[in-house]
Amino acid sequence: MNFKTKTILLLSVSLIFFASQIGTALAGFGVSPSSVLNKNLVPGSFYEQDIYLVQGTPDVDLKATIIINAGKINDWIKIENGNSFIIPKGTQQFAMKVNVNVPSNAELGKYKGTIIVNTTPIGKQKDGVSVVLGADVGIDLDVTSIKVSDFSIQNFQIQDTAKGSPIKFLIKVKNDGNVDNGPTKVALTFFDQYHSKQLGQQEEVITEKVKSFQTKTLSVEFPNNLDVGSYWADAKIYNGGNVAVDSKIVFNIVSPSVVKVKTQSKFFAVKLPNLSAVPFWVYLLAAAIVIILLLVVIIILILRNKKGE
C-alpha cells in the first residue's frame, strides 16, 4: 500500500461529527443595570452597587466567572461575591455586589472599563458546539473635587400607632451626593378622618444624615395626644428652607390592646370595631338603662314571690 492509498483510506474513515440538533432550546442571560455608574465620586469615596445577573429560565446551576477589565482602576473594583461563584438553579435575579474603593490619592478624571461575566451551565454539557452565555457590565466613573449634595426622598409613611405612643414618621432617603446629607425638618398638620377639621400642627428637626451613596430610612417621632381613630396628616419635608415634599397621608391611632391588621395578605385582612370611639355618655346611658331594667325585673320577682306567699 503506497502513501497515496494510505491517505485516501484515512480521509475516507475520518469524518468529523458535530452536534446536529435542530430547533434547540434557547438559553438566556443578562445584567441589570448595564453599568456601574457614578459621576460624583471624590478621592477616598466608597461606593457599592448591586448588578443583577438575570435569567428567565434558570433551570440549572450556573457557574459565573468574572473578569475585571478596567486598566489602572482594576484595583479599585472588587466583587464581594468573589471572581467565581455559583448562581443556584431557580434564581432569576442574582445580586452581584460591586464595591468601588477610590484611593484618597486618586487622580481626578473619568474612568471607564468593563466587567465581563461569563457563565457555564453545571452538569449540562452537550456534545458538539455548545453556546454559553455572558454579558458585559460597563464601568463609568468620574472622580471629581466638586462637593455634590443630591438626595431624594423615595417614600414616607406613618405606621399605625398605639394611643399614647409617639407617632413615627418614616422617610426613606437615597443620597446620590458625595457628602452626608438628608432632609432637615418635617412638619405635620393633623386633621380628622374627613380632612375637615384641623387638630394640630407639629414640627420636628431631623439631625441624622445619610452617608454618601447610601439609602436609609430615617425615623422622626412626634408627640401623640390623639384618640383612637383614623386621621389625615398634611406632611411637609424640608431641605433647608425649601419644601422637598408636600403631601397628604392617612394613618391610624389604635388602642394599645388592639392590633389593627389591614395588610397585604387578604388572609389577615380583618378590622376590629372601634368601640373606644363611642362617646362616654353613651356608655353611661346604657349602664343606667341596664340597671333600671334589672331593678324592674327584681321588683317583679319580689312582687311575684309576695303574691305566692
Binding site: 480521509l11 474513515v13 475520518s14 469524518l15 468529523i16 461529527f17 458535530f18 446536529s20 440538533q21 432550546a25 434557547l26 438559553a27 438566556g28 442571560f29 443578562g30 445584567v31 441589570s32 443595570p33 448595564s34 453599568s35 438575570v54 435569567q55 428567565g56 432569576q92 435575579q93 465581563i116 461569563n118 457555564t120 452537550k126 456534545d127 458538539g128 458546539v129 455548545s130 454559553v132 452565555l133 455572558g134 454579558a135 458585559d136 431624594s152 423615595q154 417614600n155 426613606k172 378622618q193 415634599v245 403631601s247 392617612v250 395588610t263 397585604q264 395578605s265 387578604k266 385582612a269 378590622k271 370595631p273 372601634n274 368601640l275 363611642v278 341596664v290 331594667l293 311575684r304 303574691k307
Partner: protein
C-alpha cells in the same frame, strides 16, 4: 284552691314579662355595640350643627381620596430577561361614605405622562382596574372607609422590554357614583437598564471531512431579551476536543453577520472577546433578533466527535 288557681297565671305573666325585658336588653346591647351603627352615628354627628333642634339631615357625598401611592416601594425595578417581573403598587383609597361607596379604582404604572397612558402597551404603560372595590378583601364592611392597595390587589407584571427610565410612576384614581375623586401619584421610580440576550443552545456544523471546510449556512439566532439595544461579544475559552483523536483550534471557527464561504469570508474566533456591532433593538411589539453565521475548517489528524463551546456575551450598544 283559689290561691292555687291564681299562681300559675301570675307565673306565666312573669315569664312573659321576663322574656320581653330580656329582648329589650338584647336590643340595647346590639344597638350600643354594633360598630356599623357607631360609624353611622359618627357620620351623622358630623353634619349636626353645634346646637341643633332638627332631626332631619342629609348625608352629602364625599369624594374619595387616594393617598400614599408608591411603586415598588420607590426602589429601583430590575426586570428579568425574556420574562415578566412582578411589581406592586401600594397606597390607600379613602371614601368617608364607606369603601362600599367606591365604584372603581384605576391604577396606572407608566413612564412619562399620565395622559399618554390609556391602555396597556407593555413598553411604557400598564393599566389595572379594580372594578368592584366593595368586594376587595381590604374593604371589610359598611363601617370601613378605606381600601389598601398591596400585592393582593395591585400587582403588575412588567415585561422585560419595559423601557428603562427614572420617571416611572404609579397613579391611583378612585371613582364613586359622582365621578373621579382625588388622584395620587408616586414620586418616581427607576426601571433599570437590562442588557440581555438569548441564543439557541448549540450550533450545528453537521459532518465535515478531515481537511475540509463546512458548507451551507450554520446559524445561531441572537434575540434581544432586554430593554436596551445590544451588540454582542464572541469568544471561545479553549480549542474543540475530539473523542478519538486530536483537537480543532478554536480559531478554525469563523463567524459573520451574513452568509459566507469559509475560504473567502468570515472572522476567525479568538479567545479574547470580539465585538459584533449588531445593534439589535429592544423589543417593542415583535421579537427583535439577528442571525449569526458560522463555518469551521477541520484539519487532518483529528477524528471522532468534536466538542467545544462558544461564548455569546451581551453588551449594551
Amino acid at each position: 284552691m283559689k290561691d292555687e288557681a291564681v299562681a300559675p297565671g301570675i307565673k306565666k305573666k312573669s315569664i312573659k314579662n321576663l322574656l320581653i325585658l330580656s329582648g329589650i336588653l338584647v336590643l340595647e346591647f346590639v344597638v350600643l355595640i354594633n360598630p356599623s351603627l357607631i360609624k353611622e352615628y359618627k357620620k351623622f354627628e358630623r353634619y349636626l350643627p353645634a346646637a341643633t333642634s332638627t332631626a332631619s339631615v342629609t348625608v352629602a357625598n364625599v369624594v374619595p381620596v387616594a393617598s400614599s401611592a408608591s411603586l415598588n416601594g420607590e426602589s429601583a425595578i430590575t426586570l428579568t430577561e425574556n420574562a415578566t417581573k412582578s411589581v406592586v403598587v401600594t397606597g390607600t383609597i379613602t371614601d368617608s361614605n364607606g369603601c362600599a361607596d367606591l365604584a372603581s379604582v384605576v391604577v396606572k404604572v407608566y413612564k412619562g405622562l399620565l395622559a399618554d397612558c390609556t391602555a396597556t402597551d407593555s413598553t411604557t404603560c400598564y393599566v389595572l382596574t379594580i372594578s368592584s372595590p366593595s368586594t376587595d378583601a381590604t374593604c371589610t364592611g359598611a363601617s370601613d372607609t378605606d381600601i389598601v392597595l398591596s400585592s393582593s390587589n395591585a400587582t403588575f407584571n412588567l415585561e422585560y422590554y419595559a423601557q428603562a427610565d427614572s420617571s416611572w410612576k404609579a397613579t391611583i384614581t378612585p371613582y364613586d357614583g359622582s365621578g373621579a375623586g382625588t388622584v395620587n401619584t408616586s414620586s418616581g421610580t427607576v426601571v433599570n437598564t437590562l442588557t440581555a440576550l438569548s441564543v439557541g443552545e448549540t450550533i450545528s456544523y453537521g459532518t465535515v471531512a478531515n481537511g475540509a471546510d463546512s458548507t451551507g449556512d450554520h446559524t445561531a439566532t441572537v434575540k434581544n431579551t432586554g430593554n436596551v439595544a445590544i451588540d454582542y461579544n464572541l469568544s471561545a475559552a479553549a480549542d474543540f476536543t475530539c473523542t478519538t483523536l486530536g483537537s480543532i483550534p478554536l480559531g478554525n471557527n469563523k463567524f459573520g453577520t451574513a452568509s459566507f464561504d469559509y475560504s473567502t469570508g468570515g472572522t476567525a474566533l479568538t479567545s479574547s472577546p470580539q465585538l459584533v456591532a449588531a445593534n439589535i433593538a429592544a423589543k417593542t411589539t415583535t421579537d427583535s433578533t439577528a442571525a449569526s453565521y458560522w463555518q469551521i475548517a477541520v484539519p487532518n489528524g483529528v477524528s471522532g466527535t468534536c466538542s467545544g463551546s462558544i461564548t455569546f456575551a451581551a453588551a449594551a450598544h
